[in-house]
Symmetry: C2
Subunit: 416 residues, 2 copies
Amino acid sequence: MRAEIIAVGSELLTPFRQDTNSLWLTNELNRLGIRVVHKAIVGDAPDEMRSSFGYALERADVIISCGGLGPTDDDRTRETVAELLGRKLKLDEEILRGIQERFRRFARTMPDINARQAMVPEGATILPNARGTAPGLWLESSGRIIVMLPGVPNELKGLFENEVAPRLSRIAPSERLYTRELRIWGLPESDVETRVRPLYELYPDTETTILSAITGIQLHPRIWSSDPTKAAAVLNEITSRMALALGEHLFSTRGETLEEVVARLLTEHRATVAVAESCTGGMVAEKLTNIAGSSAYFLGGVVCYSNELKTSMVGVPSEMIEAKGAVSSEVALALADGIRRRTGATIGVGITGIAGPGGGTAEKPVGLVHIGIADERGPRERAFRFTGDRDRIRTFATQTALDTIRRYFLFPATPR
Amino acid sequence: MRAEIIAVGSELLTPFRQDTNSLWLTNELNRLGIRVVHKAIVGDAPDEMRSSFGYALERADVIISCGGLGPTDDDRTRETVAELLGRKLKLDEEILRGIQERFRRFARTMPDINARQAMVPEGATILPNARGTAPGLWLESSGRIIVMLPGVPNELKGLFENEVAPRLSRIAPSERLYTRELRIWGLPESDVETRVRPLYELYPDTETTILSAITGIQLHPRIWSSDPTKAAAVLNEITSRMALALGEHLFSTRGETLEEVVARLLTEHRATVAVAESCTGGMVAEKLTNIAGSSAYFLGGVVCYSNELKTSMVGVPSEMIEAKGAVSSEVALALADGIRRRTGATIGVGITGIAGPGGGTAEKPVGLVHIGIADERGPRERAFRFTGDRDRIRTFATQTALDTIRRYFLFPATPR
């Protein structure tokens, strides 16, 4: 079964706003065994809408539109579809009463224009919308299914889950899409590809997408199958073999973020952590605390941007900063050890580097970052050289600091 | 002039990846006076591609495609366009030499498949791509312009700026789109709309889009005009009147972020700042330091997640925490004052609150956040009640803390 998604709304043709509903819808449709073969984004001009819906009717089995069901003259999805299918629009009294009732509940009178939302093409099934005034509409015509949903994400999701998915599920093919998500840190995309590519030929039924995000490389092996048990077995097998090929660089086989993995490791080991950050400016602390319950393992940290604060708050000797420079192995070690001692955490992390764009020298270029990690046995340190702009360097340094904590638990004897 | 953008690539029909080139392209096209009337996203199936390009040829003056110019069998943009226009594909020796040369520069031999990238439809103008192997292609046919660009953002941007924009500029209509971007914090979207809506009727030629982002409300007044001076005058006028209507809630009339505005104010006043954060977990420090040169005004901060750190690092009396609770006006005041004294900053900011999802009580619910600000005259404090999930509450608290610094400089006599 082939689907086309049409996002309706002139604001989606500006540089400011993007259609995001279609990503969510694609995932839901794929899980039902329906492939998305085309996406279209149209404004509210009648010609354009006719053209987009008309073409979609020629090539897809299922057409899902989002938006254009509001009460104003610009909301023309109902009219366009009715016209293309040669159906009349009729006022549905029950929908009208529902909309009036909804306005009453919020102590308001329904404006006359909202009556437009009760207009329905002949033969349409009405999909009740618990979260808004515009109901969804389901139409069948010459073997095609047309589903009209509102563009408000919250309303669209509720309608799809409650009304559309059960109906599609009854008619969708038995073949469904099954996926895994592997995440990798510390290898460039091309190396990840080189390591896993030999597996592609061994699993010709599995398609694997590789995505490079600033927070890590993602591998998405996918398989279409009518047998969930078999699909799971194949995906487990390919995931295990990918894990072998990727070694310690693989940090999750279920789509977790690096901070989620670190949170899990800290919790499992009943360990606590504290950080002393310079160039990352609080980003490591921010990541570690964006997880609910982080107070169980995160004690706190210092953003010691100035040299004075490195000394007064974390105890880095000012002579050391003067002799070695604020960006140095020695200071990273002292930050990691100092923050651990001052907070009483199991693990201390220290980060110092040059995020740029200014401040670099030939000896210490922009992108140079020292990351230290300390436990009761003392601190260790590694230097990295990241490339890109300030934001990218800070994010890479932050992810690498999180990964340093992960690897600490992975290799307890020789942490790096 | 009407444009259609076609994004080519099967990965854009998965739930994982979004076409983002079209937002950038839309902005560039609008500035050239060209409206985007349709966007399409297609995979690499030959039928789908033919259908999308075919329909686009029927309805747009300019068609810009992104992607499908790579060296593999799946890269079919060249073939599809040539076939639809009835042109032959020919090998261009000069492009081939360029690609071979490029491989040599990276000390590699060109794989045979890359020769496909030198195939060109008859009559096409070749647009040299300094950043990659695939050149862009420009074709004219029956009054339509078809521009084929690679999908890699960096290559696409270079090609558009250097090769496409100058050519389009010569034939584009004299009417261009002019815009402003106003940013607001501290008012809900509906209030912003209520305040500025009366202006819409006074400026019927101006269209205004209102966007609600987690970092603030944005207003984009836009005008199409063939007279830049007149357009600027109208936009200046409507911007001034919007500024009046929005009062102190307006923080930028040129699309700056809140942290950029705060950075500017701190620099102008030669002031320094330090922060003591609890529930925001480093996010305020992170925002303040994601601006180049922030070491001039940001001294540092403490992420005092545990009560012990609030006492040991910022000097909040432990009896106060015990008596009033860590989330209290008193502790916010003590954090702001304490971090200012310990760092010697002009301004100290203290934040304590309940980000959730756990930890709330009837008296101190999830979303309650106290924000303190201190200067040499002492600390002041305000309490807020934010709604939403953990991430939203932390982001709102962070933005409000930045806004508190902004308002400190706006109302020096009575800072809040």
